[in-house]
Amino acid sequence: MTKADAVAAVLVLGVTLYAWSGLADYGAGLWDLVAGGREHGRRARALIDTAVTPIWEANHVWLVFLLITCWTGFGIAFASIMTTLFIPLSLAALGIVLRGASFALRKDAARAGWRHVAGWLFGAGSILAPFSLGAALGGVASGRVPVGNAAGHEVTSWVNPTSVAVGLLAVATGAYLSAIYLVAEAKRRGVPDLEPYFRTRATWAGAAGIVIGAAALVALWFDQRSMFDRVIGRSLPLVVAGVLALAASFVLARRGVVRGLRVAGALGVAALVWSWAVAQAPYLLPFSLTIADGAGAPATLRWLLVWAGVAALTVVPLLIVLYVIDQRGHLAEDPTVGRAAEKLSP
């Protein structure tokens, strides 16, 4: 394994971690959006808010980490992707600003009307961002990004069946993960009636994910046969493992079992991310730029790997501390300075 391969593996690991955390936060935004009227959706929204508030910014940083690592390690690929896919990636940035800012502003807005608008923007951004990121990924995976400054077609590179299917798959995956996380949150925070609520939503999202996933494969078959062959060829074990793990989490969620539920869901998503990575290797841009050809200077790659090690030694333990003290219920809005939060208990 060369240094460039190792940096590529770090990138895929970053995508995995972002899918587990950031993508699920987008899903929470979707459930917030469709929770219904102000009274009807109040408690579901309160649970989403309490669960997401202390951790979403840390979760979000994985995306920044991915962008930076990509341009430092694989500048040519980064520049080619960002310019050909200028439109969906600008839309992704738009979605990120909408959801992040309106989520932060919503809490302290004085008027209910403004909180309502902010909530709506939070939900809309939470759908736009993962869809756009997924569509961009679909454009890369289906070989629509050539090397160069906006060298590919700026519209068809992401408005095509594969890209649209992958975009929807990203939305559905986030929705599914967040629904099963919220089932566990509802249990832990002692609001048992919200457990079946999010279990139902997990079922919907899971069913949608299966349909969309199958559609994505069909689209890829018509679109880019060589990539399709790689997915169901060398990536097959990972695809099967992913589907099995997701099926297991689905069954656990249906039966109302919380133990192992989140782990199974996360493993399933990870296996699907890695099945994409394995199918696409050794290409950064299928089938025109390989990892070796697109890699930056060896000295830089070495330092990037050192920094990935530093991140593993500093960020990961701190993240664990954050998640643990959050899960023990030590983190919450400060009631002496925050607006009185919505009550969770009925």
Partner: protein, 466 residues
Amino acid sequence: MTEWMAAVEPAQLLPARSQMAFTLMFHIVLVPIGVALPAMMLIANFKGLRRGDPVALRLARRWSHAAALTFAVGAVSGTVLSFEMGLLWPGLTGTYGDVFGLPFAIEGIAFFIEAILIAIYIYGWRRLQPWTHFWLGLPIPFVALVGAFSIISANSWMNTPAGFTVGADGRPENVDPMAAIFNDALPYEFAHFVLAVYMAAGFTVASIYMVGWRRGRRDRYHRLGFLIPFTVAAIATPLQLVAGDTIARWLANNQPAKFAAMEVVTTSGPDQPEIILGRYDPATNTVSGGLRIPGLNSILTGGSRDTSVPGLDAFAAGDRPSNVNVVHWAFDTMVGVGTLLLFIVLWFAIAYWRRRDIPRSRLFGWLAASAGVLTYVAVEAGWIVTEVGRQPWIVYNVERTSDAVTRSDGVWVSFVGVTLLYTALGAGTVIVLRAMSRRWRRQDEADDAVPYGPRPSPDAVAQVER
């Protein structure tokens, strides 16, 4: 890589530069709050715990709540900037990404750690042990400085590129990322920037409490809310004067074109006047109007009127900063504001030394209440000086901005979209911060009504709100 090469001025250049300038100038408003406010919040927290001072603790809690909001907005506007590095400047990241990208990787980790620690600090007030909570928060200002160091390192590399040679194919060779990180301009830019963010955050927070103080809310809460941040900013201000002067002299030797634009030096030579304001005409390379102080520019640069100063005539027209007037006026604004702030600080220092109190003069109150806005004007002006002054280069003397810009269509659309979005976002942030402050004032008034009663429960606070 001929596909990166562009014609003289691609159509995307103007909207791309406008969008980058606009998003950076927006983000830079939030940076001082993210980097320097945590330090003040921890000073108040420490004071509160050490002396058992509930007023200081209340300030720390409220500042951390305000910091949480601005930190969240800064996190998203910072993400937009990292998207733009590729969306708008593929020639920079695509060609030199592996030379100057490493500091961003360091920043990524620093920001990550900061985000985690801030989340623990902000949401840990209620349940964590008070001192545990303080110690978990203590690394935040230092981690924030690591982040600022990295971003400034990348920016100073664009001013004094180092750590590579340009190969025959136009791509960098012999890349040495450490030499790129520790480039020549870094110590100057970093010192200048750190002092600037502490001044901006300090004066801004202090000015908010000064407004309340001037409206007659002369309690300990407002006094302390003014004194802690104002003292921090007051310490940074004289140091900034020294730093700024050192950098200007360094620039005269290391980025002479930028220096010539800042001081509108038209013709190289000794005995240069210091020109305040005035209008530069690029066609004739002359300055009309403005206040001229004979010989002062040479004296400031080298200590005597005989010091020769490089002028714009030393550079081909295509290599001069594209908008000399903007650079010069921004520079004069920054220096003017800095001088005024030093005056305010000296006034405060003398009054505090003699009477241990905030100066009573109405003029001081008015100046101190404006200091926050003024410092931000200086920060933005300084950013304009360094960025516009570097043009037409994106990497000084190595790569032109016009060669780095994206060839994507739709940059005008994204620029208009970003302008509308950020205007709404800025307005929303200000409205919510004001709503927060009004809510806290009502809370304090409710507290004052029952001086010996218990603190109101959150429910009671909610009652007051309705």
